[in-house]
Each structure stands twice: as C-alpha cells, then as structure tokens.
C-alpha cells in the first residue's frame, strides 16, 4: 500500500525537478535497454539498441533532421497523444520528452516544413522551424476531417508526394463487407456500399484547410485496410501494404481453420491512380499464387470470377502477419543491397490458430528500379521475446512504426511496451 501511496509523489517531484519535460517518463531499462542488440536478431554487421522502453503505445514514428523523434500514440499519456523525444546528451538514450496533441491515432510524418499527424478521423499539420521543432504545438491546422472511423481498421496512415498531395488510408469498418460482420456463413453485401467512403486511399491537398471527402479523390479502392504506405521517390509512385482478410473458415464448407491460417496473403501493391485492389470480392491465395473469389461472394477457394483485371500484388507476404508500416530505405548507412528497398514492420498475427502466430518482425524486400528484385527476408526478429507465439498476448514487443534517421539508421517502434529501437550498421 505504501508503495502506491508514494508513486504520485515521485512523479510530481520528477516533473518539478525536470523543467525541460512536460511530463516525466521513467526510462526503466528493465526489459531491453541493456540486453545485447536490445534483444533483436539482425544480419551480420548490424546492431540495435533501445533508446527508450516505456513511452506508451508507440505507433508510427518520424525522425527529424536533427535526430529527434515524433511518436504518435494510440492511447493518451497524461492527456496527450504525440511525443517529441530527444537524446540531448547523445548517450543513446532518450532523456527529454515533450508531449502535445490531445488525440489518439497512428499516422505521423514530416514533409517540407510541416509535421502531419492523424487522429482516427482527422488530419492535422503543425508548422516546424529550421530544426524541425514545433512552432505552435497547441495550434495545429486541421486539414482533413470527417473520415470514417468504424473502430475496426480506423487508423489513418499518411504519406505525401512531392507535388503537395497527401495520401490517407481509410480502412473498411469490417472484415469482408458481410451482411453480419464476422458472422458464420453471412454473405457479402453486393455491391459493397462502404467503398464510396472507405476501403481505399484518398488523396487530398496538403496545404488546404478543412477538407472533407468532397475535396478529396478516391485514389485507390478495394483495399481492406492499409497501415503501411510510403512514397517511392525512385519512380514517383505510391506503395501500400494491405492487411488481408481474416476468417475464411466462417465458410466451413470450403475452408478449414488451418487453411484460413495460411492462405489469404498480406499484399504489397504499387498504386497508380484509380486502381482497384479487389477487396471485398477477391483475396490473394498464397498457395495458388493468384486472386480468387471470396466465399462471401460465392467463392469456393478456386473460382476466380470478378477477379480478372483486379490489381495484382508486387509481393505476397504470409497470411495475417499484419504489416503495420512500410519504409523505402534511401539512406547511406546500410550496405548497397538495402538502398531503395522496402522495410516492412509486421505487428504479428492473431488469426492463425491452430498454427503458431506469424510476424513480430521487420522484413526487407530488395528493389531495383521500383520493382522487387528478389525474395523478401526477415531483417530484424526477436521482438516477441519468445520463440513461439501462440496467443498474441505472449509477445513482449510488437513492431509497429518505422523511420529513417538523418544518419541512415532505422528506427522501429513497439506499441506493447513502448520501446523505441535504433538499428545501425557498422562497417568493420
């Protein structure tokens, strides 16, 4: 009892003692900070450290040109949803954190002097100074509002191009647009009515205030939910990774639980304006290596009607692994094979019973000329802290956000414990 009584006092004194911080974080270091490579398994020549291990539900992250981090949180900490975190004495540990923004969310990025951040139905931007620090943290401009927030798949991931456009994911508020969402044997609504305002990527102006759907363009459709998206500057195209469908075995006459566990891919797409990626009518079967008709629309695991002409993935990843972030690596720190390739943070699956869960790693896909040039591979593993994850709760850390530092280091966020990892390459 006494212990709990003193905790608030300690926190208050920590805040008083440290005037630089809006609130205090205890950087405990009990799990990872002092373990070799912060517990991660990496290719030869790479090493990792944990800059912090308890910042909250850290979702997407972005690193400033001075090496500080903005971290978007999916749960408020002391009423705030964005952290600005710095390592002021360059000892490899975050020692100063400020917080702002009274909304939860996932999306955050920096482009041309502005920080862009999303709640689950709005997008804001904040002017930055020459050090990419906030000028008015409490006075953001609201650039987009009124986006569908259906609780399922409600995160609004963001990326910008070089022409003043911002691309925002609006996920579908269901698994497969059924009459009864996730209901055994329930048919799909046909046509799926939500596709006019969700299940795709919307394009808006980055510098126009108070936009809503009528000001935006449905840039791509048929995407169930996208959390990872990035702009590929080599070929000036948008790339996204879809969270593929769950629960094929809601149609037990066609699919077993084991088939559901391994069949429906997580798909990476190159997105040209106007493409249709197929959801909810089609999904990509990793075993047959093609798009097939969903059982909600009469599919039996083999039929391909309605799927001709649907956009094909450029990479198909294991089912249900949950790609939460995509980053094209443009830095110079890592060996040449990584240049312009794609890193993908897999949050880890839940819908793979009776198989073990899959994901909980950062993958890498080599690219040449804007196209995958070889098979994908696991780049950083060991986030879960256990050999086998049967139930997602067993994972101690789950990768969620990716960012590239000015020195070319790769940063990874974890939204279970709030660990921020930094991965570097040492040429020796």
């Amino acid at each position: 009892m006494r212990k709990y009584f003193f905790t608030p006092l300690l926190l208050i004194s920590a805040i008083l003692i440290n005037p630089k911080s809006d609130f205090s974080f205890e950087l405990k270091g009990k799990t990872n900070l002092h373990v070799e490579n912060a517990g991660l398994k990496l290719p030869a020549g790479f090493s990792a450290s944990a800059l912090a291990d308890s910042v909250g539900r850290a979702r997407h992250i972005v690193v400033t040109k001075k090496g500080a981090l903005y971290i978007k949180l999916s749960k408020l900490v002391n009423g705030k949803g964005i952290l600005y975190a710095k390592d002021t004495d360059a000892d490899g540990k975050i020692d100063e954190i400020k917080s702002f923004g009274n909304y939860i969310g996932t999306g955050i990025t920096i482009k041309d002097g502005y920080l862009y951040a999303s709640s689950n139905d709005e997008v804001f931007r904040y002017a930055l100074d020459e050090n990419e620090e906030l000028i008015k943290p409490d006075a953001p401009e609201k650039i987009i509002s009124g986006l569908i927030n259906g609780r399922q798949h409600n995160t609004k991931s963001l990326v910008l191009d070089d022409k003043g456009n911002i691309y925002v994911n609006v996920g579908s508020p269901s698994n497969s647009c059924q009459e009864i969402d996730r209901g055994v044997g329930s048919n799909g609504k046909d046509p799926c009515p939500i596709l006019d305002s969700a299940g795709g990527i919307w394009q808006f102006s980055a510098d126009k205030l108070n936009q809503s759907y009528k000001d935006g363009v449905r840039y791509a459709t048929g995407l169930r939910n996208v959390m990872g998206l990035d702009w590929n500057y080599q070929i000036n195209e948008l790339f996204v990774i879809q969270h593929g469908r769950d629960q094929l075995d809601m149609f037990p006459e066609h699919f077993t639980a084991q088939q559901n566990a391994v069949i429906p891919a997580e798909e990476m797409f190159m997105i040209k304006k106007g493409v249709n990626c197929g959801w909810p009518y089609c999904y990509f079967d990793v075993q047959q290596n093609k798009k097939v008709l969903a059982p909600e629309y009469g599919g039996d695991g083999k039929k391909t009607t309605r799927c001709e002409g649907v956009e094909q993935p450029v990479v198909a990843f294991p089912a249900h692994a949950a790609p939460n972030a995509l980053l094209f690596y443009t830095g110079n720190m890592f060996p040449g094979k990584y240049k312009n390739g794609a890193f993908v943070a897999f949050h880890g699956s839940w819908n793979r019973s009776p198989e073990k869960q899959e994901g909980f790693y950062v993958a890498f896909v080599p690219f040449k000329g804007g196209k995958p040039s070889g098979p994908w591979e696991i780049f950083a593993d060991g986030f879960a802290g256990v050999e086998t994850v049967m139930s997602p709760k067993q994972a101690m850390h789950r990768p969620c956000g990716l960012a590239q530092g000015p020195d070319g280091a790769l940063y990874v966020s974890d939204d279970v414990k709030g660990t921020i990892y930094k991965i570097v390459y040492k040429n020796n």
């Binding site: 609780r151 399922q152 269901s174 996730r182 209901g183 839940w350 819908n351 019973s353 049967m390 709760k393």
Partner: protein, 135 residues
C-alpha cells in the same frame, strides 16, 4: 428425512458462497469443442484475447458476472466497444444464436471454469430462459 431436506439447501448455499465450483468433465469437454470451433480464433487458446481487438476472457466481469448478460453476448454478439479493465477492443463479435441451448451452456460453463476462472455453471435451462426473452 426432514433434517436432510433442510440440510441440502444450506449445503448448496455454502457451496456457492465458497466458490468451490466443480463442473463435470463431460460438460467441460463439450464446452471446449464449441470453444475451439467458434471462439478460439478470436479469444485465443489461452483466453487472453488480442490487445486492442478481441477482449480477454480471463477474470473479466463479463465472464464471471451476470449469467443473463453473458448469455446475451452469445445470442446478440457484441459491438459496444466498452472499456474492459482500461482497454478498448475494436473488433465486432457476430451473434452466435445459431448455437443450441446445450452448446451455449457448455461453452459458457467452459469459459467460466477455464483460464483461471471459477464460476457456477450455466445450464441449458438458463439459456432457454434468456433466449425466450431476448430479441
């Protein structure tokens, strides 16, 4: 004889109050089969649920509390997204009213007595009563 009849209810009350629930093996086995087929994918093999998506079944008031409310969750599904121990869960649970009274009783008895839970069984009669009064 009179003594015995008087004694029995006292026994039952004590039995419940001390929470030393025993459920017969056959019910638990039937319940586990229903759980594996209809519940496990979301609520997981350990009843731990999925953070942010599917609620856990371990020692939550929904599982250990009112029988009526728990039966109604199976019959009507759940889409309230209320906080459970400080967490919000965003997935939808579809109604499972296609299950029989026996199946619902078995699976609820199973989850009320698995994953560290201990609570009195739910009978097919309980389910029948609630189903008749649930729209």
């Amino acid at each position: 004889m009179k003594k015995i009849i008087l004694f029995l209810p006292v026994c039952l009350v004590t039995f419940t109050a001390f929470d030393s629930v025993t459920v017969d093996k056959a019910t638990m086995e039937r319940g586990k089969r229903v759980y594996t087929q209809y519940c496990l994918a979301c609520h997981q093999i350990d009843g731990g649920g999925v953070p942010g998506l599917n609620p856990p079944l371990e020692k939550t008031p929904h599982v250990l509390g009112s029988k009526t409310k728990l039966i109604q969750i199976i019959l009507k599904g759940m889409n309230t997204h209320e906080e459970i121990d400080g967490e919000i869960y965003n997935n939808t649970m579809a109604p499972h009213n296609h299950l029989t009274d026996q199946q619902i009783a078995d699976v609820l008895t199973y989850i009320r007595n698995s994953f560290g839970n201990k609570a009195v069984p739910i009978t097919p009669g309980d389910v029948k009563y609630v189903r008749a009064r649930t729209k």
